[in-house]
């Protein structure tokens, strides 16, 4: 084991420290994001979640793990990919913690670090979505599904054929993508914005080095 990897009890590894900075920076941008300090571990979020039975880390545990300095294990969990963004946890939290928005932040962090779940191809759906949107400025549903199936396995598309035919029969499938008129300036906006979307740990924020738990929350 290399010297740097040996941890003094009660301190964070460099990797955890980096993740923590990125996470705190990201949470800082959410209006009311700092409320995460006020979690009383009551479990209302987990109890309200319609999908918590499928998660390896429940929403309450997610906040507990963040406090314990284990963001790495949160990012590798299936929890952040199972969330359907129904906002039940967020709207019921007695401490007004923005749980859903925090899960969004974690999803962003995982994607930036290319940590993808094998079973839930959320990132493939996102890639397909972005591809369709960037070229036309609007989303075209049949194209989105097509890109998605090409990425995740074309055999999946067979089970969608009856549905597709039914939709087409009702005139609800439009293959021709509608394009916005001012697509060139739309692309300029995206290009500029992506320059600003640098990974957040670059714009480092001060945090107490080596602190864990409540002290490190800031």
């Amino acid at each position: 084991m290399r010297i740097e990897e040996i941890q003094i009890p009660g301190t964070l590894s460099t990797k955890e420290a980096d993740l923590r900075t990125a996470f705190l920076n990201s949470v800082h941008l959410i209006p009311g994001g700092d409320k995460i300090n006020g979690c009383i571990q009551c479990g209302t979020c987990t109890g309200s979640c319609p999908l918590s039975y499928l998660m390896d880390i429940t929403p309450r545990e997610l906040i507990a793990l963040f406090r314990a300095g284990a963001i790495d294990s949160i990012i590798k969990s299936r929890t952040i990919w199972v969330c359907a963004s129904c906002y039940s946890c967020q709207s019921r939290c007695p401490a007004s913690i923005k749980v859903t928005d925090i899960i969004y932040s974690l999803k962003r962090m995982a994607m930036n670090r290319k940590v993808y779940p094998k079973k839930f191809p959320v990132h493939s759906l996102s890639d397909s979505f972005i591809k369709s949107m960037k070229s036309f400025g609007r989303l075209n549903e049949p194209r989105l599904m097509l890109y998605y199936f090409v990425k995740t396995g074309i055999w999946k598309s067979f089970s969608f054929i009856p549905l597709g035919l039914k939709m087409a029969g009702k005139g609800r499938l439009k293959f021709k993508a509608s394009k916005i008129k001012d697509i060139s300036s739309f692309k300029k906006i995206i290009k500029k914005a992506q320059e600003m979307d640098m990974p957040l740990e670059i714009a480092a924020q001060s945090y107490i080095k080596g602190a864990v738990g409540y002290k490190a929350v800031g």
Binding site: L51, Q90, F129, G171, F186, Q194
Partner: protein
């Protein structure tokens, strides 16, 4: 009353019926919807979860366009409603984010000053136009139609402010006004699975099944919804749900504007009702009734 109308991508393809009925109903009630010129996709939940500044910038482009017109945005899609609302909230709250987003928008000669309000048609109908006015326009009261009012997640959550987020009553009030009967429907705010229907079908089918089951148990004639994605999951995936859970559901899923349109005496073609997969027999009966002429005093 005049609003800037932002249909969103799905209303231009898979949910044409919602688009048509929204326009027809508002025209009938004397509320003017002006199409937002050259709108772009709001970025939806998917974009929101992967890039921050980019997602805010593309949503803000729409807000900036509406601001130029000096009108509030009305959007029927729950997801667009959430995203545009959220973008507005984030930008009003954080000057640094607003700065970076405006730098991006400047590339297209636009600027956002955080003055636009983002509204949903149900909010406009109940709170701006008002139930009293609507009741004066009713031509065919929906007597005996049993509706399950399904709000879905993103219409009232996280903090939309126009209705209670645990027990909203806007739709109940509206349908009571036009003569329909509401059924006991405790699942009205339960998640349908949303975009998990594509990425994690097993979980989403289970959630949608619970909603359909609740409506059938309580003998609803139809489920009325405000969200295109909910409509899609509950209607288009009903075959799959029947197969998976060994059920035989044939539940019509209608948009609230379509049902309202029938009560206002509009034609089915105008409301795009034939685009739905399942026909609501009871609503069809009401539609075929003759309009009762007002008695002259």
């Amino acid at each position: 009353m005049k609003y800037s109308y932002y249909p969103g991508c799905s209303l231009h393809s898979a949910h044409k019926g919602y688009d048509m009925s929204c326009k027809a109903v508002s025209k009938n009630l004397g509320c003017e919807l002006v199409d937002l010129e050259d709108w772009n996709c709001c970025g939806a939940t998917i974009y929101m979860s992967i890039k921050k500044v980019t997602s805010l910038a593309i949503a803000a482009r729409n807000l900036a366009l509406a601001e130029k017109e000096g009108l509030d945005i009305v959007t029927p899609c729950s997801s667009c409603y959430t995203i545009l609302n959220k973008a507005h909230k984030y930008l009003s709250n954080s000057p640094e984010l607003l700065d970076s987003v405006n730098t991006c928008l400047a590339e297209a000669g636009l600027k956002y000053n955080c003055t636009v309000r983002v509204r949903h048609p149900i909010d406009v109908l109940v709170n701006d136009i008002g139930l009293e006015i609507i009741s004066m326009y009713v031509k065919k009261p929906l007597d005996g139609l049993r509706v399950a009012n399904y709000y879905g997640c993103q219409l009232v959550r996280p903090d939309k402010g126009f209705d209670d987020k645990e027990n909203p009553t806007s739709m109940e009030n509206l349908f009571q006004t036009i003569g329909a009967e509401e059924v006991y429907f405790p699942n009205k705010l339960r998640c349908c699975g949303g975009m998990l229907m594509t990425t994690f079908e097993d979980a989403a089918l289970k959630l949608s099944e619970e909603i359909l089951d609740c409506a059938v148990e309580n003998k609803a004639d139809c489920i009325v919804t405000t969200c295109p994605l909910c409509q899609m999951n509950l209607e288009a995936y009903q075959d799959k749900i029947n197969k998976r859970f060994n059920k035989n559901y044939k539940m019509p899923i209608l948009f609230f504007t379509q049902v309202l349109g029938i009560a206002l005496g509009l034609s089915e073609d105008e409301l795009g009702i034939d685009k739905n997969f399942y026909k609501c027999e009871k609503l069809d009966e009401i539609y075929k009734k003759k309009v009762v002429e007002e008695e002259t005093v």
